[in-house]
Each structure stands twice: as structure tokens, then as C-alpha cells.
């Protein structure tokens, strides 16, 4: 089941959704837009050693990891 993993102070929060459930799918897409709109980076794994940044919602991605905007330390 596809999972959206959002990094936060708890480590991460996970949202699983069923791609055959229209309501759940719409909610996941809305979450994607909201997080990326807030400056989160969305990334998916495209191979065992390959990660890709995505700008549009991919419902088929097994896992999408979101991390907050980067800042200079």
C-alpha cells in the first residue's frame, strides 16, 4: 500500500492510502500539494541506490518521503 512518510519531531508520521479508494487518493494528493506548498521536498526511490525528487503527486510510488525546507546551519 502506498505510504507518504513525513519527517517530523517524532521521527516521521506515515499516511497509508489505497489507490482504489477515490477519497483516500484525493486526500493523499491534497497532502502532497499542501506539504510541497509549505516547502517540503518530496522524494521517491527509483532503484536500490537511486532517489528522485518529484514535483507532482505519484500515486504509484510505494513510499514518498517528505522533508522540510533546507537551511544553512
Amino acid at each position: 500500500m502506498p505510504t507518504q512518510i513525513v519527517m517530523d519531531h517524532n521521527g516521521d508520521t506515515r499516511y497509508r492510502f489505497d489507490i482504489n479508494d477515490a477519497e483516500a487518493l484525493a486526500k493523499a494528493e491534497e497532502r502532497f500539494k499542501q506539504l510541497t506548498g509549505e516547502g517540503f521536498t518530496a522524494t521517491v526511490r527509483t532503484g536500490p541506490a537511486e532517489v528522485t525528487k518529484i514535483k507532482t503527486f505519484n500515486p504509484k510510488a510505494e513510499e514518498t518521503v517528505f522533508f522540510p525546507r533546507l537551511i544553512g546551519g
Binding site: 521521527g11 532517489v51 518521503v65
Partner: protein, 134 residues
């Protein structure tokens, strides 16, 4: 007398076993443990091995092909390496907010592997200290 000695030993043993059990449960449910689990799941097989053995892993920058070393930590933990494997320069950049080490390191890895130039434009340089060599 012997019976009285046996009971505390048995209890001590049981207590130790319980403590180990709770400690394991606690470790598996802390934000730190979750962050490390996520990081490990997203490392390449070679990075996974390197991190488990040495506490750091190397990544290749997407734009320049430079090699970086990400050490366990939440700040001032990314180093660019020279051709001989020496620490050349430190780059400090982190995801905003209060995140655990595993999450910070995963964000740094993804940033360098997918949008290196932008990550470095945000980062602050620092003079590396210590060795961190193979």
C-alpha cells in the same frame, strides 16, 4: 539461608530480562529509532554497510560528482572529500525544524544526490576538524 540467596538471584535475573525487553521496546519506538530505521531503509546497500561499520556513509554529488561523507549527527556533519579521501571542506545544511539524526542525515543524502548545487548554495562552509578516514 541458601533458599534466601536463591530468590534474590532469580529476581535479579528476571529484572534484567525485563529491563532488556523494555529497553528494546523503548528503543524501537523512540523518534531516534524511527529516524534511523527510515535512514537505513533508504541507504544504498554499500552506504548501509559503511554506516553500520563506521557510523558514516559516503554520497556522490549529483552535479559535480564530488564525494561527500555524512557522519552521524544533526549539524556540521557533512564533509566534502578530496581525491585522497581527506576532509576538504565542511558543509552545514539541515532540514528546518527539530528533527532526529536519522532524518537529518537522510535529507542531507537526498539533497546531495538529487540537487547538490542548490543544497550547497544554502549551506554554510566550515573548516573540517578530526579525521573520519577509512
Amino acid at each position: 539461608m541458601l533458599g534466601a540467596r536463591r530468590v534474590p538471584i532469580a529476581w535479579r535475573s528476571r529484572f534484567r530480562a525485563l529491563r532488556r525487553l523494555y529497553s528494546r521496546y523503548y528503543d524501537e519506538n523512540t523518534p531516534e529509532a524511527r529516524g534511523l530505521r527510515l535512514l537505513r531503509a533508504w541507504l544504498s546497500p554499500s552506504q548501509f554497510e559503511q554506516f553500520d561499520a563506521k557510523g558514516y556513509f559516503d554520497v556522490i554529488g549529483s552535479a559535480t560528482g564530488s564525494k561527500y561523507r555524512i557522519q552521524y549527527g544533526t549539524s556540521m556533519n557533512v564533509y566534502e572529500l578530496d581525491d585522497t579521501g581527506r576532509l576538504k571542506v565542511g558543509w552545514c545544511f539541515v532540514p528546518q525544524g527539530c528533527l532526529v539524526a536519522g532524518d537529518v542525515m537522510l535529507a542531507q543524502k537526498i539533497a546531495l544526490e538529487t540537487f547538490e548545487s542548490r543544497a550547497l548554495s544554502i549551506a554554510k562552509r566550515f573548516v573540517p576538524f578530526g579525521r573520519l578516514r577509512d
